[in-house]
């Protein structure tokens, strides 16, 4: 009886099964990498803003404290994006003719708000509160990175739930004294492993991992 399949089919079938499995694994790996990448989480992505505002210049360069603009960070859930009036506090007097700042001046003149592209955007089912983190001794740079070195704002961390839980499970690894919250480039004077637990004790920090802490 004539053979239907040539001999090479044996090898071919084995190779193709292995390749198929490899392909599936590869796709899975690609998917996993993709979902952890900046494409999905936004980490490291610089967005086009109406005005290329430089945190580097304003904080490190001019020495303006975070709270001058982000006024409600210690009182409310949202840290607050400054109103145009805040920008105009200075830019009424300086750089008054700069082209770069025209959208700001126009907004102030016409009463039309400026639409910034949101950089740190948690999903809507996450209820994050800035004030309690600031009150508990978490520095701005712990989550937002070295904003004072960013010529254009970008997200420094991936802000995934897993990343949040790293700290929520072990706050002693990340906590700093309350008066250093707004300092950039702070290093603990004694090792964090020593200081952390002390601060956790002193500030009465609980490692909150219940779902309703963030999901309401």
């Amino acid at each position: 009886m004539r053979q239907l399949f040539p001999r090479s089919s044996n090898a071919l079938s084995r190779v193709s099964i292995v390749l198929l499995l490899g392909l599936l694994a590869g796709l899975g790996w690609v998917g996993a990498e993709l979902s952890n990448s900046g494409y999905v989480t936004g980490e490291g992505v610089v967005l086009n803003q109406p005005v290329p505002f430089s945190h580097d210049h304003h904080t490190a360069g001019l020495g303006i404290d975070c709270r001058y603009c982000h006024t409600s960070v210690d009182r409310a859930a949202s840290a607050g994006i400054p109103p145009i009036a805040t920008c105009m506090n200075c830019h009424r007097e300086i750089w008054t003719n700069a082209d770069l700042l025209e959208p700001i001046r126009a907004a102030y003149r016409d009463g039309v708000a400026v639409k910034w592209q949101r950089v740190h955007d948690l999903p809507d089912f996450v209820y994050f509160n800035h004030s309690v983190h600031v009150a508990n001794g978490i520095g701005c740079e712990s989550c937002h990175g070295r904003v004072d070195q960013m010529p254009l704002m970008m997200q420094a961390e991936d802000l995934t739930m897993g990343w949040c839980l790293e700290c929520h499970r072990e706050p002693e690894k990340f906590v700093r004294p309350r008066d250093e919250v707004f300092t950039f480039g702070w290093e603990p004077p004694v090792p964090q492993s020593q200081m952390g637990p002390q601060l956790v004790e002193e500030y009465g920090i609980e490692s909150l991992t219940a779902c309703s802490v963030c999901h309401r």
Binding site: L47, G80, P83, A85, G111, Q117, F125, A135, G204, R216
Partner: protein, 1116 residues
């Protein structure tokens, strides 16, 4: 002018499917090969199609078919020739084929990109941020909600300049921190998409200026006549500013008249007290001073002015179990207001306000089951005519006039008269008789006389000057207006704040006479029934957008301040409209109110000149009009002078000039009425039970959820299950079991009511606790132009209402129509089935055996789960069944706070209502006179929760503070948790119930709570958003959460303070103290769920001499 026809809404007639008005015209000849054979006519026939197809061949044939298939003609032909049942989707004009095309395209195009990346958002700050405003943190402003003219102070929560939730104002005596259902739901009305938005003349949009001009012209023309052709019709008014404006208008036009029509006004009170006391008076009760109360057809604990305050007072005297925790009639605790200690005082550091006094006893004689009756120690049901006879007999027994006792249909009634009289007499000035708002004038008269005879006037009741200008006293009535209209005496008619075309009694035939007025202006929130009969429509401002004021039941005046700029620029408030009539058409509400209180009225609160600004700010802040620097509320409505300028009675000396001489026997022939009804019913008996027609007395009542119909377009209120009956989205004729059996009626049967030549068809609903021989029908339904939500819902009771029988129709023929109507009810099951769900006992039982509650149940102790140590906070809740009246304030507060959707009647018929709190109502005892019990059931947050162990995706887990957390983003909708829950408190979004499309409704949602999508389970969360807010605030301020700082929405709204919530790890917290009581038990605790919500058993205080016979338990 009178040729003006009835205005119909300027809308096109509804498009019907198959309407060919603008169907696709045929393409020009030759353009399309496939259709060239169809050029002869628009209609395809099967033969034509067959011919065409036969002529085509090969690929052309398919092209023909395809092209054919897209044309409406082909569809029509198909329908004609081959009618099919399910040819179309219910939803629209999409064929199955098209649907698949679209869906597959979407899947391919939309695909996975939606899963990967979050859509980019913009973040838009202010240009100039209002000072002090922090994005995301709400502000609270005090304002006043008005119903029936009476004001109730509320605090409105405002997120970024939009009000999202109404809460009570702890400083206002009519609220005490709580609200009723209407105030809670009023925030939804603000954002109602059906609201009138523009000034319209004859249906066409125009401007206010044009109206002002025309009004000015009309008024000028009237000057010579001194305004004799001018009429103003409003609802009940207590607002001092509005009264002042009306006075100004009347002074400028002395012959003009002001009429009041308030469909749900308590008319009997004025007439009755006038007979008894010499002038119309308003009764203000003090239940804290009462030991025994008789309610005559009265629902004083939930309905009517001051009900919330009375509920609080009543509960304080009802709590026999804890002398130290009497909730005095002060605030309900505030939401973490900094340093407000009055709240803590109210939290039970208990200056026992009556701590050493015994439990108040409540008797209720009623013809329709009321929430008040559910808390009564003794309840007797009688038809309304016999209630009047009862009052008469009681008065005779107590020497307060009245007639000879009539023959009652129930032998018990005579015994009641004796025993109740004896009890009341023994209490003397601590006794009280409360007549129902809608009882007849003679019942009010008798009640006033009885109170006088008992010596209660001045202690438990005060008779004060009426706060609200009601018809017949300060203003004319609707009858008089109709008479004037019929006589052609009216040239200018302005209607504001009332909807007479819908609500006027049918015998006045308002629609026939209204057009006799030459110029008609209507002011209202909606373009409703009355606006269609008026040339001008002026859109009204909602109270949350306007300036004004109002007076509460006890005379406390408070301001109405806006929370938001008017959503629609053209709207005007009532004050502004009437000011236009008074000559100042451009005045703003703000200026008008300020001017009023700066003037003479201001003097009455001691605020003139410089002191005024301070007083003004203080009053706005507190929500109660205050004299500068004083903590006391302004002197009561003495400031409100009727246009006759009566000096007004102040507080307290209500004892008045009561004379015992000359008490007349009540008129209106109650004995005759009773005899007539009984005779008629006996006749029916003689004719046999097969008689098709019955004669019943029918009670008309304002609906407990949509009142007189003004809230018919408020979906929250339409869906709130009515107290006792638990009906939604409809009204029905409520009758008792015996009445139903006698006339062969069952629930859902359609009957026709005939009264004085008018008829109305309604369905019947059997209510075991109803009185025999009578029925109850609620007003406010059957509206034709309420809006999308309210149109055509229910049955219009005003069709058989007459102006001489506003609240009780004496002899109505009820005829079976032979048909049924599906009524949606959220509780079909009435019995506790032998389980001890609501545990009750008498006070004597409790005193003899304090542990009797625990002996009713058994709590297992074995569990295979290891115990968990709650080191920090551990949240728990306790519900006091002694206090719950079943008023529904908690249900709707929860709906407002937690963005709970409305599902509509059809879904409720499927049992899919979404309310997180369910108010169960159980009957207990005999079938004829059952006791009623209310029990609010929400998620019990069980320690050993059956729902937590079965979720496949861990979407419902226990937090480390004890709450059962529902994580919406994890839920995949298996519904196993709901299956496992023994309390059935979980709600599933079977469809996309939340309206995500209507823009304006997005504003009412609470941003602190997730808005759930289709396919997600939800349930009570112990208001975890409020808990989190308090926890965060405490961390920020480095302190512990104080007891009373967290008020769950239900707790805050409850007028009778039935709910306590707090930290059970703190032995001093209120909830811990409640849970320590011997009366404390868990619902279904024998299932070993270890619920964190527990209940305090209901005690009653019966009169042994009135021991009721116990028949078998109610089954099914």
């Amino acid at each position: 002018m009178s040729r003006l026809k009835v205005l119909d809404n300027v809308e096109q007639p509804a498009r019907q499917p198959g309407d060919r008005a603008d169907a696709n015209p045929l393409p020009p000849e030759g353009e399309s090969v496939a259709l060239e054979n169809v050029s002869t006519g628009r209609r395809l026939t099967v033969d034509a199609v067959r011919d065409k197809l036969a002529a085509a061949e090969g690929p052309e044939m398919w092209r023909s078919l395809e092209e054919l298939a897209e044309t409406p003609e082909f569809e029509e032909m198909l329908h004609r020739e081959f009618p099919r049942q399910a040819s179309q989707w219910a939803g629209g004009e999409v064929s199955r084929r098209r649907f698949l095309q679209v869906m597959s395209a979407s899947l391919a195009l939309g695909g996975l990109t939606g899963c990967l990346q979050q859509p980019r958002e913009e973040i838009i700050p202010y240009v100039d941020q209002p000072e002090g405003l922090v994005a995301g943190e709400p502000w609270y402003f005090a304002t006043t909600h008005t119903l029936n003219g009476y004001g109730m102070g509320v605090l409105a929560e405002s997120h970024e300049g939009r009000p999202t939730k109404i809460e009570g104002n702890p400083d206002h005596p009519a609220s005490l921190g709580a609200t009723d259902v209407f105030a809670q739901a009023s925030v939804l009305d603000l954002y109602d998409p059906d609201r009138a938005q523009a000034v319209k003349k004859l249906g066409r949009v125009t401007t206010w200026t044009r109206l002002a001009d025309e009004l000015g012209g009309a008024l000028n023309a009237q000057t010579a006549l001194q305004g004799s052709g001018v009429r103003l019709l409003t609802g009940a008014v207590s607002s001092p500013t509005l009264r002042a404006q009306i006075d100004t208008m009347l002074q400028a036009n002395p012959q003009a008249k002001w009429h009041v029509w308030e469909p749900a006004a308590a008319d009997g009170a004025g007439a009755g007290t006038a007979s008894a006391l010499g002038s119309p008076r308003q009764a203000v009760y003090d239940l804290q001073a009462a030991d025994a109360v008789l309610a005559l057809d009265s629902d004083f604990l939930t309905t009517g002015a001051g009900a919330q305050a009375y509920a609080r007072q009543f509960t304080a005297r009802r709590r026999a179990w804890d002398g130290a925790d009497k909730m005095a009639a002060t605030g309900n605790g505030t939401e973490g207001a900094a340093g407000d200690d009055t709240a803590n005082a109210a939290n039970g550091s208990g200056a026992g306000n009556g701590a050493d006094r015994e439990m108040i006893r409540l008797y209720s004689v009623e013809s329709t089951p009321t929430s008040t009756g559910t808390l009564a120690d003794h309840r007797l049901t009688l038809p309304p005519s016999e209630v009047a006879a009862f009052a008469s007999a009681l008065a005779a027994e107590l020497g307060a006039g009245g007639g000879a006792p009539a023959r009652f249909s129930k032998p018990r009634a005579a015994k009641w008269v004796r025993e109740v009289a004896a009890d009341l007499r023994s209490r003397g000035s601590a006794a009280l008789v409360v007549p129902g708002d809608y009882a007849s004038a003679e019942v009010h008269e008798l009640a006033a006389r009885i109170n006088q005879a008992l010596g209660a006037v001045g202690t438990t009741v005060r008779y004060e000057e009426p706060v609200v200008a009601a018809a017949g006293e300060a203003a004319g009535s609707l009858d008089e207006l109709v008479a004037d209209l019929a006589a052609g005496a009216v040239d200018l008619l302005v209607i504001a704040g009332t909807n007479p075309v819908q609500t006027a009694p049918a015998d006045l035939d308002f629609t026939a006479v209204i057009e006799k007025a030459r110029l008609r202006v209507y002011h209202g929130l909606y373009e409703d029934e009355t606006s269609r009969y008026c040339q001008w429509m002026v859109p009204a401002k909602h109270y949350l957008e306007s300036w004004g004021d109002a007076v509460a039941f006890d005379g406390t005046a408070s301001l109405v301040q806006p929370l938001i700029s008017p959503l629609y620029d053209a709207t005007k408030s009532e004050i502004e409209l009437v000011a236009a009539l008074a000559g100042t058409s451009g005045a703003k509400g703000y200026e008008l109110v300020r001017e009023h209180w700066q003037g003479q009225a201001g003097a009455s609160i001691g605020a003139t000149g410089d002191a005024f600004e301070d007083s003004w700010k203080q009053s706005l802040h507190d929500g109660v009009l205050r004299a500068a620097g004083s903590g006391a509320a302004a002197a009561p409505a003495a400031a409100v002078a009727a246009s006759g300028g009566a000096a007004g009675g102040g507080a307290g000396d209500g004892a008045e000039n009561a004379t015992d001489a000359g008490v007349a026997a009540p008129t209106l022939g109650t004995a005759a009425a009773v005899a007539r009804v009984q005779a008629a019913n006996q006749e029916d008996d003689l004719q046999g039970a097969a008689a098709d027609t019955a004669i019943l007395e029918i009670n008309l009542r304002p609906d407990p959820t949509i009142w007189d119909g003004r809230y018919a377009n408020n979906a929250w209120l339409q869906e709130i299950p009515k107290p006792i009956t638990k009906l939604v989205w409809d009204n029905a004729l409520l009758i008792s079991l015996a009445t139903a059996e006698r006339f062969g009626l069952a629930s859902n049967d359609l009957v026709e009511l005939a009264f004085k030549g008018r008829t109305l068809q309604v369905p019947v609903w059997v209510v075991p606790a109803h009185a025999d021989g009578c029925g109850t029908l609620h007003l406010g339904y059957g509206r034709r132009h309420a809006g999308r939500v309210g149109d055509g819902v229910g049955f219009d009771a005003s069709a058989i209402r007459t102006s001489d029988a506003l609240w009780t129709l004496p002899a109505v023929e009820v005829r079976r129509m032979g048909g049924t109507y599906p009524l949606a009810c959220t509780q079909d099951h009435h019995s506790m089935e032998g389980r001890h769900l609501v545990r009750t006992g008498s006070l004597a039982d409790y005193q003899a055996n304090p542990d009797f509650v625990h002996q009713m149940g058994h709590v297992p102790t074995l569990t295979m789960f290891p115990p968990y140590e709650y080191d920090g906070y551990s949240w728990g809740m306790a519900v006091d069944l002694n206090a719950c009246t079943g008023c529904n304030a908690c249900v709707i507060a929860c709906q407002s706070e937690n963005n709970i959707p409305v599902v509509g009647k059809e879904q409720v018929l499927n049992g899919r209502e979404m309310h997180w709190i369910r108010l169960d109502r159980y009957y207990e005892g005999s079938l004829e006179e059952p006791k009623m019990h209310n029990q609010p059931v929400m998620c019990q947050h069980c320690e050993l929760a059956p729902c937590e162990v079965v979720c496949p995706v861990a979407a419902t887990v226990h937090s480390d503070e004890g709450t059962n957390d529902m994580v919406y983003n994890r839920c995949v909708g298996t519904r196993y948790c709901s299956n496992n829950c023994p309390y059935k408190v979980r709600r599933f979004n079977f469809f996309q119930y939340v309206d995500e499309k209507t823009e304006v409704l997005k504003a009412v949602r609470n941003p602190d709570v997730t808005v759930r999508n289709r396919g997600v389970m939800e349930k009570c969360s112990y208001c975890i958003q409020r808990v989190a807010k308090a926890r965060i605030a405490s961390k920020r301020e480095q302190r512990e959460i104080r007891d009373g700082e967290i008020l769950s929405a239900c707790q805050q709204a409850c007028p009778s303070d039935a709910i306590a919530f707090g930290n059970i790890n703190d032995p001093d917290s209120r909830v811990s103290r409640w849970k320590e009581q011997m009366l404390n038990y868990g619902l279904l605790e024998e299932l070993n769920t270890r619920p964190r919500t527990s209940y305090l058993a209901k005690l009653n205080n019966p009169n042994e001499r009135l021991a009721e016979p116990r028949a078998g338990e109610l089954t099914a």
